[in-house]
């Protein structure tokens, strides 16, 4: 059989979950991570990251809106997906996740964004004209009250929602980890560490994407990048990455030490079919290198330009590494036979419903949506003086 090495159960040769199912935890991970970064300011009062607060929320929303799309495109019958809300099977993590997603989208993210932007929305509904006036008007949901008292209530409510939002964000991505981690049939997936590893890698990717977007947008608008903000974000990225890396190493060391039934088969797989994506891309390029780069910035003193460049490099490598991690979990988990006697290959289509092109479009789509959101709900103060750079680039 082409692409098969050794023995696979006959129905196992074809992979069930494609690159779209790799993309899905990547997108929801960015959501959870971006939200946690936003909550750093709101709940934990880390003032330094305030410039990215609104951007982080909008990023989370943009990605959360796109997240169901890879799932819908993957389903054999997407027209029946409403059944998950109508007759959810309570023992199924996938079914329960539908509600977690809905809760998080409506009761946390949309509500928090609305509360934080409410004053601006009301102002813009009164100051703009044409279709924009209509849009902002609709967004006010009928309330034009922007008195001191009302805004204080907004502030308090927003704080409360963020407090609820943090465990909700944990639940959102932890659940995705549980969807994999609870499958006893698959030893590559089945571990209680899976939700935790997914969550921390989500936080890493979310923090990295907000940091990169902030730097990109400020550069595009020819504004000064608040280095105190970016330095703080990079520090949090570093700490979170250490935890994430430790968890992944713990899983690895544990597997190697216990050397259970599946170990030889999985070990062989990692050293052959998964070598490039796992060892090279995920571990060396995507984890060890960014951690080392960030560690350098913590230990040594670099000037602003150097720090910016290191952060951009580390951020990009991080995102690649976290995507590779999702790939290695999802695709890797299907490359080996449950008989532990063989391996198959993933044949990814190019221009197919679940192909590479679709994955690329779905990855770019949130940035498109974010662009619209940023135009509609600017995450920065209306009046900004551009401060001349003390260190010209």
């Amino acid at each position: 059989m082409p692409g098969v090495e050794g023995f696979m159960y006959p129905n196992e040769v074809e992979l069930q979950w494609s690159v779209l199912i790799v993309l899905y935890p990547f997108l929801t991970g960015l959501v959870a991570g971006a939200f946690i970064l936003a909550s750093l300011e709101r709940v934990f009062r880390v003032e330094a990251v305030k410039p990215t607060y609104r951007l982080a929320l909008l990023t989370a929303l943009a990605f959360l809106l796109v997240a169901p799309l890879p799932l819908q495109l993957h389903l054999g019958h997407p027209e029946r997906s409403y059944e998950m809300y109508l007759t959810p099977h309570r023992s199924s993590a996938m079914a329960m996740f539908g509600f977690v997603y809905l809760w998080y989208l409506m009761a946390v993210l949309v509500l928090e964004i609305w509360l934080d932007y409410r004053r601006d929305i009301v102002v813009m509904s009164q100051s703009t004209t044409g279709w924009k006036r209509w849009v902002y008007g609709a967004m006010t949901l009928g309330s034009n009250n922007i008195s001191e008292h009302a805004l204080a209530v907004d502030e308090r409510a927003g704080w409360l929602i963020t407090v609820i939002g943090i465990p909700s964000a944990f639940l959102l991505h932890g659940y995705v980890g549980f969807i994999f981690g609870s499958v006893k049939a698959n030893p590559w997936w089945s571990t209680p560490l899976m939700p935790v590893v997914f969550l921390f890698s989500a936080m890493v990717s979310g923090i990295a994407v907000v940091m990169l977007l902030y730097m990109l947008l400020m550069w595009a608008r020819k504004q000064t990048i608040d280095m105190r903000c970016v330095d703080t974000i990079a520090r949090y990225l570093f700490y979170t990455f250490i935890i994430d890396f430790s968890l992944e190493m713990l899983d690895l060391v544990h597997r190697i030490y216990e050397a259970g039934e599946s170990f030889r088969s999985l070990d062989f797989m990692v050293h052959t079919r998964l070598y490039v994506s796992h060892i090279v891309v995920q571990i060396i390029l995507g984890t060890v290198t960014p951690i080392a780069l960030l560690a350098l910035t913590q230990v040594l003193r670099f000037n602003e330009i150097a720090r910016k460049r290191i952060y951009v490099l580390a951020g990009c490598l991080t995102l690649i590494g976290i995507f590779a991690m999702r790939w290695n979990v999802v695709i890797g988990g299907q490359l080996f036979s449950k008989s532990f006697l063989g391996y198959t290959t993933y044949k990814m289509g190019l221009v197919a419903r679940e192909g590479l092109l679709t994955a690329v479009v779905l990855t770019l789509l949130p940035f498109g949506i974010l662009w619209i959101l940023v135009k509609l709900l600017p995450p920065w103060p209306a009046r900004v003086e551009s401060v001349p750079d003390s260190n010209p680039a």
Binding site: Y9, P10, Q16, H74, L75, G76, E83, H89, V183, K338
Partner: protein, 243 residues
Amino acid sequence: MNITRRHMLLLLPAAAVAWEHVLAGNPESSPNYKVTEHWWGMLIDIPKCIGCGNCVRACQQENDVPDGYFRTWVERYHVSGDNIETPEVDSPDGGKNGFSPAKEESGKNFFVPKLCNHCAESPCTQVCPVGATFVSPDGVVLVDKEYCLGCRYCVQACPYGCRFINPKTNTAEKCTLCYHRITKGLTTACCEACPTGARQLADLRNPKDPIHEFLRTHSVQVLKPYMATHAKVYYNDLDGSVR
């Protein structure tokens, strides 16, 4: 064939009874079938399996199984010496056209037919998000193809690799224990076609079913017992090397 009137008098009542069982042109389940009276399983007698592939072919014919996918299949094991950790296994086209002679080597060689184990604690039904796959009251794990989303979670959750997605219906599919036959008093297609009696349908709730005596007097295993799926396909004399 020379049928006399006497033959006809004997044959006709028998044929009439059998006719009711067939109902080939009139598909409806037998009104006498009560789900609570049955708890289905299967017995597979390894020493009797000759790897002819009749079961795989019969299943495909009975259930319109698409080529390249298998509701049941046969694996051939070659265990050399004391190395039961790494047997050599093959299943050319699921064993549908039998097996070509292997090299004669020392060690054990045998066939293992496999199918859905109709687990009483089935992990595939646990993960279905909408209730499209379920354990019937008579112990058969079935898929409601009008309700299935095709999310493939059940395929991932099955430890035995018995599920697949039918490319025509885009829904999950697997062995139904020929539910449409057993509810009419017939046996499954694979058991009907097996020439040696290696596969036998078993009704665990029927006190007269030979399975009870068999389980008492033979060394019987299930596949992957550590998965605690409470599989109901019992294997006689299953070697420790079988995955």
